[in-house]
């Protein structure tokens, strides 16, 4: 099972990214299963939010929060702390939206790409970076998930940002 933890602030769309990933993973196969859920509780703009995506080739029955993740994707670098390493599996990776360099994490200025495509938030950029750093879903399926689950008006810009981010991450 692949497990991804998303960290963001209320309003940044961390949970939307978690959902898009789950949808992308399951979109073209009946043999693939996913769960996506937010850290449960009252929702407040700006407050730290966790979201989780679990991906497997059999039904995912453990509905509890991930304790060891393959990837931790952080939408706001003020939410990064070195203790997050404890939530990683042995070969796990942390991906952070940051202008700074962080030891033991892959950092990238996601806001630059978001600005280029006039997006108010970096969630699909971070999704693109994750795809670039891993092979858990294909870019084609990620694009399909955006087409299926985002409002039509913002699909194109999000798709462009995702694809650009994927390219940048592979460089």
């Amino acid at each position: 099972m692949n497990e991804i933890i998303w960290l963001g602030r209320g309003g940044q769309g961390a949970f939307t990214a978690a959902k898009l990933l789950g949808a992308a993973y399951t979109i073209d196969s009946r043999e693939k299963y996913a769960l996506a859920f937010p850290s449960f509780g009252p929702e407040r703009r700006g407050a730290p939010v966790r979201a989780f995506t679990k991906l497997d080739t059999k039904p995912v029955v453990d509905r509890s929060q991930t304790e060891k993740a393959d990837y931790i994707v952080i939408l706001d670098d003020t939410l990064y702390s070195p203790q997050l390493q404890e939530l990683l599996k042995d070969n796990g990776q942390i991906i952070v939206n940051s202008k700074k360099t962080i030891n033991e994490a892959f950092t990238f200025d996601a806001e630059k790409i978001a600005a280029e495509f006039r997006l108010p938030t970096v969630n699909t950029v971070m999704f693109g970076l994750l795809i670039g750093r891993s092979d858990i879903v294909t870019a084609e399926n990620a694009v399909e998930s955006i087409k299926g689950y985002m409002p039509p008006k913002i699909q194109e810009r999000n798709i462009s940002a995702l694809l650009k981010a994927k390219e940048e991450a592979v460089k």
Binding site: Y33, A36, F40, G41, V61, Q65
Partner: protein, 388 residues
């Protein structure tokens, strides 16, 4: 059509296919999304229904009763304190034999105030005369929404139906769901027709009072109605499987129970983790099994007796406690065994209250505890208590 949906959204899709004519709505976490989605469906015209914003849960149920008494298919949804606030009206709905369907997002009851999932809200209403179903995942939630009206509206049943979804872990978790085709749903569920309605051409007295001489007859008939659902649930699931290809197993669902020594009896979304743990223990040579109760009313007395007859010990794992006694599911399971003359060691494990996580290692511990013997009533993470 396959979609990635939350439990609430999946249930709303099932309700859209069931074509209720009146929806009364009062939002409460974690039920809110289901009534939000239904309001969007009414707004975009994909669901033709009268959508009534009411001022409380008491009014939500009253409105549904009024609609049903006019011969309409009615839907509402609630959770926790909302369910408790509407409790008075639950009895009017069942006593009036109005086949209303309600989704309840299972949530903790105050105080201490808490919005997270446990089953103390719905289990407190077992005696209200409603059919009570518990879903495990979003697909089953959608399918229950569609099957619920067919069961509730059956002439032999004529009983309201409460479909329970674990708050957050089911209502707010997204997974892949197969949404049936409109034509197939219409074929499965015809429009509601009833004589139990206000009719100016054929006036009759409804919702009347009945004194000591006749009241008990109405209560006996009400009991018969809920019991009749046993057969109707099986028939409905058979027809559902023929049309939609998904099979359900009646009042309970058994897993690896045929030769099991140790069985956990539970309900709702935790059952999956119990099955996975049973698999793991089987690899170690321990004969573990799981019974998932799908319906608490009508209660699966015979089914539970049959499956637990030859086990060495069983545990009832539930997100409920009847203070001063034990978990209510445990009481019901023990009664089923007693009625069949079965004497097997049984233990009660109370967990998940106020949304507390139940882990795979907690479940492994339960299997180990019932094999070795433990207190009769146990709070997971706290320990056993004297059961009076």
């Amino acid at each position: 059509m396959k979609k990635f949906l939350s439990g609430n959204e999946a249930f709303a899709e099932g309700i859209r296919l069931a074509r209720p004519q009146v929806i009364s709505a009062y939002p409460i976490t974690p039920q809110t999304i289901v009534v939000e989605r239904l309001s969007e469906m009414v707004e975009d015209g994909s669901l033709e229904a009268e959508y009534v914003h009411v001022e409380s849960e008491h009014s939500a149920m009253s409105c549904a009763i009024g609609a049903s008494a006019a011969g309409a298919r009615a839907f509402t949804a609630t959770s926790s304190q909302g369910l408790l606030y509407m409790a008075e009206c639950l009895y009017y709905a069942s006593g009036g034999r109005f086949p209303i369907v309600m989704m309840n997002a299972d949530r903790s009851t105050a105080l201490p105030w808490n919005i997270y999932g446990d089953q103390r809200d719905s289990l407190s209403q077992l005696d209200s005369g409603w059919i009570q179903a518990y879903a495990e995942n979003a697909q089953e939630a959608l399918d229950l929404a569609l099957m619920s009206y067919k069961i509730a509206e059956n002439k032999d049943v004529s009983t309201p139906y409460m479909a329970n979804l674990d708050g957050f872990v089911l209502t707010h978790t997204y997974e892949t769901v197969d949404i049936p085709e409109r034509e197939q749903a219409d074929k499965f569920l015809p429009p509601y027709e009833t004589d139990n309605r206000i009719d100016f051409e054929n006036p009759k007295n409804m919702a009347f009072s009945a004194g000591p001489d006749t009241n008990y007859i109405f209560k006996f008939k009400e009991h018969e109605g809920v019991l009749a659902a046993r057969k109707v649930i099986n028939e409905t699931e058979k027809e559902f499987a023929e049309i939609f290809g998904r099979k359900y197993t009646g009042l309970i669902e058994n897993y690896l129970t045929d030769d099991a020594d140790y069985v956990i009896v539970t309900l709702g979304s935790i059952a999956g983790l119990c099955r996975e743990t049973a698999d793991k223990l089987r690899e170690q040579g321990i004969k573990a099994g799981v019974v998932r109760i799908r319906y608490m009313r009508p209660f699966p007395n015979d089914e539970i007796a049959d499956v637990l007859r030859n086990v060495k010990a069983y545990a009832v794992l539930e997100k409920d406690i009847s203070f001063g006694n034990e978990g209510t599911v445990f009481t019901n399971v023990n009664s089923a065994l007693k009625k069949s003359g079965i004497n097997v060691k049984g233990y009660n494990f109370i967990g998940g209250l106020g949304g507390r996580n139940i882990s795979a290692s907690d479940i492994e511990q339960i299997y180990s505890d019932i094999a070795n013997g433990t207190e009769i009533v146990n709070f997971i993470g706290i320990g056993g208590g004297n059961n009076g």
